[in-house]
Symmetry: C2
Subunit: 406 residues, 2 copies
Amino acid sequence: MSMHGGGRALNNVITTKIARDLYLVRTIDRQTKYFEGMWEIPEGVTYNSYVLTTSSGAVVFDTVKPLFTDLYLDAISKITDFKDIKYIVVHHVEPDHSGVVKQLAEKTGSPVLGHPLADKMLKRFYQYTGKFQSISDLYELSTGEYTIGFIHTPWLHWPETMMSYIKELNALLTCDAFGSYGSYAQIYYDELDGNERGRYRWLMLKYFANIIGFYRHWVSKNIEKLISVGIEPAYILPSHGLAARDKSVKEFVNLYLKWSLGEVEESKIIVLYTSMYGFVKKAVNALIEKLQSLGLRVVVYGFNDIERSPISEVIADVYDSKYVVIATSAYDADAFPIAKLLAELLSRKTPLSGKRVIVLAAHGWGPRAGSVIKGILELYGFKELSVIEFAAGEHEKIVESVLKAL
Amino acid sequence: MSMHGGGRALNNVITTKIARDLYLVRTIDRQTKYFEGMWEIPEGVTYNSYVLTTSSGAVVFDTVKPLFTDLYLDAISKITDFKDIKYIVVHHVEPDHSGVVKQLAEKTGSPVLGHPLADKMLKRFYQYTGKFQSISDLYELSTGEYTIGFIHTPWLHWPETMMSYIKELNALLTCDAFGSYGSYAQIYYDELDGNERGRYRWLMLKYFANIIGFYRHWVSKNIEKLISVGIEPAYILPSHGLAARDKSVKEFVNLYLKWSLGEVEESKIIVLYTSMYGFVKKAVNALIEKLQSLGLRVVVYGFNDIERSPISEVIADVYDSKYVVIATSAYDADAFPIAKLLAELLSRKTPLSGKRVIVLAAHGWGPRAGSVIKGILELYGFKELSVIEFAAGEHEKIVESVLKAL
């Protein structure tokens, strides 16, 4: 049963077996409102830790956000005795995964394995002074009946990020890559029905755009690297959200390649607007009606006197749109502050270069917002936009002008 | 009874007599969440319209936000017959005051009086094509037993802003200047007790910083102008919030002069922080403890995974602080987005040049946020800041470094 659409569940840990000897420990977080302190996540988020039990001890891959230390350690203790944990693998030192590494290392006495850069980060973040084993790219670790290969996957989405491949299970542990928001109780993407899958892919895109968007060019590079070293996983096991198996492995990889390359949905147009007193909103409403009549899929996000859309979702929906309209107004001899913030975040997080971008700028006495927004996009190298200025209240010609610019 | 501290009242209109023949029509708005589509106002806001009844007809000064058209017209009709309204004065075309001008003009057939620039704005905003009388600076209108002087007060806070002075009542109608947020049922500031006055002055500052902050240099210029033309009001009647009379007139004027000149509270320090995973928050907490022990008044605003402070209040509290600490972290080879937004808004809205500003910047693997925030402040001409970079988790020396930089 999916929980993302319904009421808020309590924080919770789900433990399940993925394949022989490989366990998932998923902590469900409905407490965090802003992921990374920034991105609105009413749907919640999960942190997946994995445990491989072998004849010569267990390997734990990643942990959880510090907030959930006790819940998490309790769940781990039900899979294996702490004293039987032989290695703790840190794919990524961001605290939503490394948050309990120090405590776990102290309880078990086992070494932490990570990218060479992870050592210093763990020392700084947590004053961790226990054993650390630096893992070089493509290093292989044999433990009991399993061989684990480690692959450096830089900038997905920090410099120290790496993945683990458990050869005998064909299981690729990808950390943040292929992850998603949402508080699902299902384990695999293929357990969702058609509608739920569509929703899940959107949450995956939301996560991708928010967290990995700025590093999107590294996704295809790292996927090529995985292929070049012969990895053909039967399982993709990310550190947030649902796992992929069998046919859905390819689906996940294709989504990531598509997003990495900035492919767009040709008939999708996103209209972002800020409106102080309704003039921009009126102009936008007239435009939306026309765009819909042309058969375009129009997605609208407003920022006005009673409404503030989630920026996390704006970024997601811009990410794969062919057309982007940013409608705003002049403000204090500048553009409206939220429009500037959006212009900057979109420039950084989404592949604008494959899109048609139109800036609609209202003013009370003199044009200004259009050139400011244009300036921000140009700063990030995007020059192909159309700017349409209009006096607040006079929006009759807007629809026509936008249609010409599309 | 003040309502700002208690539960949300319904939208409401208060009508009262200010002095012989001069009435206040105050609409209370608890619906607008973001004033100007931007500023968080949990305390609500009011729109004050004034009606002067004379032996040769009534004069209406300003109206209300369009949302409240019916409530407002109903209240006006209880003071005067529409057919007896002789003039409608528009001090400012921003729609929270000009929203019902067109309807009122249509109902009464009376001309609209405003700054020469107001004509075009009314035409554009509302397609108003009725009578308009351009009012030149210092023009005097005699109607019945009253003389009304009009004073252009540009950039408080639009180019077309003006004030009216009813000579026989010594009443200065100041529109947005001297206004405030809050949903008060009292009419005058002097009806509040001591604590409530302190709270009200803070709401006045919040409004000032949010709305007029960018134009603060125009405040003292316009006050000088009012004095130079011999205006010594017994009443200050703003278009938002409470009125001043007698001794509180001087108090309001002095507050505005102080804010216009950027005077600060010498022992006040504001600490703004963004924290993704708690590292910045920990550093800030250690700092706050030390600052408080030094007898400073410390005001803290956080932006983290469960909390997002109202930016409207951040700007207000920065406005009159002597010291400002902006603590943030690196993010995507940049500074954290909210910190950039704050740095820009503070540069525009508050007088940083009279303050000590310290940027505390955390990073996971390489310094970045400090130079980005510094760059934003420098863009606005502020160069005197101290930047202290630290590795996330290593904040022992922060407190010492900040104290040195103060």
